[in-house]
């Protein structure tokens, strides 16, 4: 039962009046002189049983009368009145997330959900208001026929979507409808990871979900190149989630560079020195299973020569030592492509720029920064001890630093802060450090993270060609991404090209590696993979999910027919005002008859 004006139910409290009158009638305070009270007493004694029964009956009739009137005023809708279903606001949430591509009984789960959705739409009537919401949160309103066409044309998305968001939109849609019956019907594979964050809706929800256990799944849940720029040697690592051992293949470009098998829980690690150069697409794939969507995982890597680096004496002995380590490992070479020097000694970019050793040279250093187009200047020296915050640099002690002051609007990144102020900043072809790489100024050169940090600065920030992104962009299908300045198009390995603009864009819905093109050459890559959570096919039981989404108003069904019936059950509720008013009249008549009958009986 539901109510259009539930506040009127408060009128039902008036039912307490006859009840209280019945219970408290012996406590009346009004006093009336009546000489024949002895007859009254005798009458009550002689007719006590019939009087009690009559009073009880009258009390019940009057309580029921008040309740019937209160219920009628609240304009209730009750199931079981009439035939078929009444006007219903129905939002169908069709889960077309990637996990619905898992095969069950030889067909994707999505096909089963689509059939159920079609059946539900076919059961709708022209008086119903219909919406269709998909896993990506897209809401469509329309007639039954229009939504059937949408369902027929629909395909699973390549990501997990956002089912909680889709549910919220479905709820908002039905709540906007001025119809007494409001239902959200969810057709889903009930994947646990997709519904974990879903909140209680507050309106009835019917859930149609597979009853069977999900298929056993093997998945490549992680794959990547380390580092993301190979010079030209590097490593590929992957993690495969499988209940038993599984064979794998590693592909770089169009070439299989490794095959093998790993046991349960064993990582895949592969060191390679491929001959390819430039941005390359790669993937780690396993043998196909009933859920092919996660049988391969993509990665991208830039392969090229190690950057040639030279360091002036002003950079300090620790930098020279670190460069020697990198050179020995093949990750840097001696040359002039990248310079490491104090600001007053640097002449060209790209460069890793340090403060001058002598504060007297500060003016010359700032003039050089201005000449090179670096939008930062060294300000007063600050010897307040501080702790750095930044990637790889958290906890690094900073004892002496020049404050970095921004001048100009050129884009730049703050890679680390010290005492809450910028300490290491980077921009196009420069990295600027606020402290000398000397233990007297900072712990950075003596920390273990120093060499990897320097390698990353040289490889990603400074060693990449001008305009190159340095590192790939990782995204889920359809997720928003930020493309570098000058990006013109993206292109996948098969040559499919899509025009894009720089700035915020959307990742392609197809999984794979999409190269970013600028000035006719590849300057980066967008790696589109399904989120690893989609590889977990563990399910909620339909009843659990329905209760999670709607509490007592949740209904779960394993078959399409039951789902259709449950979804329109609320619509079978009809206005009950007329029957209740008729009941009230009948109660009035019954009360009159009871009074008259008891009077004649007693008399």
């Amino acid at each position: 039962m539901s109510f259009l004006a539930p506040l009127w139910l408060l009128l039902g409290a008036a039912a307490a009046v006859p009840l209280l009158l019945h219970l408290l009638r012996r406590n009346v305070t009004a006093r009336v002189e009546f000489p024949a009270a002895r007859y009254l007493q005798r009458a009550e004694q002689e007719h006590s049983r019939s009087l009690r029964l009559r009073n009880l009956l009258l009390m019940l009739l009057r309580v029921l009368l008040v309740l019937a009137i209160a219920l009628a005023a609240a304009r209730p809708f009750v199931a079981g009145l009439g035939v078929g279903h009444g006007a219903t606001a129905l939002a169908i949430l069709l889960d077309n997330s990637l996990s619905t591509t898992a095969l069950e009984g030889g067909a994707p789960v999505f096909e089963r959900l689509r059939r159920a959705t079609r059946a539900l739409l076919l059961a709708a009537t022209p008086t119903d208001r219909l919406w269709l919401v998909t896993a990506d949160g897209r809401l469509r309103a329309g007639t039954r026929e229009a939504l059937l066409a949408e369902v027929d044309a629909m395909a699973p998305v390549q990501g997990r979507g956002d089912l909680p968001l889709a549910l919220r939109r479905a709820v908002a849609a039905v709540q906007s409808a001025a119809l007494p019956a409001r239902v959200v019907a969810v057709a889903t594979d009930a994947q646990r990871t997709s519904w974990t964050d879903a909140a209680r809706t507050g309106i009835p929800v019917t859930v149609h979900a597979p009853v069977a256990e999900p298929p056993r799944n093997r998945a490549v849940v992680a794959a990547g190149a380390e580092p993301t720029r190979w010079t030209p040697r590097g490593a590929i690592s992957a993690r495969i989630d499988a209940p038993d051992s599984v064979g794998f293949r590693v592909v770089l470009g169009e070439r299989t560079i490794a095959r093998g098998a790993v046991g349960r829980g064993e990582p895949v690690a592969l060191r390679v020195a491929p001959p390819e150069r430039g941005w390359q697409a790669g993937r780690v794939e396993i043998e196909p299973d009933d859920y092919p969507a996660d049988d391969a995982r993509h990665f991208a890597v830039w392969i090229g020569a190690a950057p040639s680096v030279s360091a002036t004496p002003s950079a300090g002995p620790f930098v020279s030592t670190a460069l020697g380590v990198l050179a020995a490992d093949g990750r840097a070479s001696a040359g002039e492509a990248v310079r490491i020097a104090s600001a007053d000694a640097v002449t060209t970019l790209p460069a890793l720029i340090l403060p001058p050793a002598d504060p007297v040279r500060l003016g010359a250093a700032n003039r050089e920064l201005a000449r090179l187009g670096v939008p930062w200047r060294f300000a007063a020296i600050d010897r307040t001890p501080g702790v750095a915050r930044g990637d790889r640099l958290d906890g690094t002690a900073v004892r002496e630093r020049y404050r970095l002051v921004r001048e100009g609007a050129a884009p730049s990144d703050t890679l680390a802060t010290a005492g809450g102020a910028p300490w290491i900043v980077a921009g196009l072809r420069y990295v600027l450090v606020g402290s000398r790489l000397d233990p007297a100024a900072t712990d950075l050169p003596v920390r273990a993270a120093f060499v990897p940090w320097l390698a990353e600065m040289l490889g990603m920030r400074l060693g990449a060609p001008a305009g190159d992104l340095g590192a790939p962009i990782f995204a889920e299908p359809g997720a928003p991404i930020t493309l570098p300045v000058g990006a013109e198009a993206i292109e996948n390995a098969s040559g499919t090209r899509r025009a894009v603009g720089d700035g915020t864009s959307t990742a392609p819905s197809e999984r794979g590696v999409w190269f970013i093109l600028a000035g006719g050459r590849r300057v980066g890559a967008v790696v589109v993979n399904a989120p690893p959570e989609e590889s977990s096919l563990a399910r909620w039981r339909a009843g659990e999910l329905a209760a999670r989404l709607a509490g007592r108003d949740g209904r779960a069904s394993g078959t399409a027919d039951a789902w259709v019936r449950d979804s329109f059950a609320a619509g079978t509720r009809r206005p009950a005002v007329t029957p209740l008013l008729a009941l009230a009249l009948a109660l009035i008549a019954a009360e009159a008859i009871a009074v008259r009958t008891s009077r004649s009986t007693v008399a």
Binding site: Y39, L40, A603
Partner: protein, 304 residues
């Protein structure tokens, strides 16, 4: 003959009471009642010596006491008191329960006012029949006791007595009946005017005593219509003014049961009185007086 519409005995008691004093009204009632009868004047009254008085010219010589004339040379005439063959005693309940009415005063008399008017009319009616009439007023004690007399001044005594106070917190009907028995040693007529809010068992011995003494007993059971039908509405503690009895009830709920009980009580009284040969008449205070008068007149007519 007067038109029935103008006869006081057929007029609404409350409206009639507003027209004049009880004495005047009682005369109207009796006149109206008697005018409706096909009356045959009663004859054969015996006479009883009352006193002597000096002879006056024109006096019937049959009543001259010749013995005194011969002995004292003085003419005196025997004065005889007319004597009826009926001595009636009206026993009126003036207890507090009688001072009640179930409607505003303009619409209805209290039971006591109605009963007093009825007693006055009965007394006058009987006196005009040359019967001796007495009055006993009682509540929890005897308030007035007037022996039966047939004198013309008797009615004024009775009317004057009706104005005396009453209103005690009980009705000692048995005591009143005992007093009546002591007042009237010869067989006579006892008329009880009461609301009978007493226990049957407490009264019946006294009534039996009266009947055993040869008296005709007639009980006028005076009830307010609200006591008969319980027309009071609402939820209240209904209190007996003469006792501590308080009964909580809702008028609408108990009305039917109450009416049934009152019907039973009336039947019980009627049956008990009939069993001993006493008359019973229910008189509602909104009824004209003719009913009660007719009843008393019939009783009187049965007497020799």
């Amino acid at each position: 003959m007067e038109s029935p519409a103008l006869r006081a005995d057929l007029t609404d008691p409350a409206a009639l009471a507003s027209l004049g004093h009880i004495e005047v009204v009682a005369r109207w009632i009796v006149d109206g009642f008697l005018s409706g009868l096909h009356r045959s004047p009663r004859k054969g009254f015996s006479v009883e010596f009352a006193e002597f008085r000096p002879y006056q010219p024109g006096d019937d010589l049959r009543y001259v006491d010749w013995k005194i004339a011969a002995r004292a040379d003085r003419w005196v005439v025997k004065q005889y008191e007319e004597e009826t063959n009926l001595r009636a005693t009206l026993v009126l309940d003036v207890s507090r329960s009688m001072d009640w009415r179930g409607a505003p005063s303009a619409q209805r008399l209290t039971k006591r006012a109605y009963a007093e008017q009825l007693v006055a009319a009965l007394a006058l009616l009987l006196l005009r029949q040359r019967d001796a009439v007495g009055l006993i007023r009682f509540d929890d004690a005897i308030r007035t006791s007037i022996p039966p007399r047939a004198r013309t001044t008797q009615w004024r005594r009775i009317v004057a007595a009706l104005a005396e106070p009453g209103g005690g917190r009980a009705s000692d009907l048995a005591n009143a009946l005992g007093q009546a028995a002591r007042l009237v040693t010869r067989r006579g007529m006892m008329v009880l005017v009461t609301d009978l809010l007493v226990d049957v068992e407490a009264v019946m011995p006294a009534l039996r005593g009266l009947r055993a003494a040869g008296h005709d007993v007639t009980v006028f059971h005076v009830m307010d219509p609200a006591e008969r039908r319980f027309t009071l509405a609402g939820e209240a503690q209904y209190e007996d003014p003469e006792s501590a009895l308080a009964v909580p009830a809702a008028g609408a709920d108990v009305r039917a049961a109450y009416e049934s009980t009152v019907t039973t009580v009336i039947a019980e009284w009627r049956e008990a009185l009939a069993a001993m040969g006493a008359g019973y008449e229910l008189v509602l205070t909104d009824q004209p007086y003719s009913l009660a008068l007719r009843r008393a007149f019939d009783v009187r007519q049965r007497r020799p």
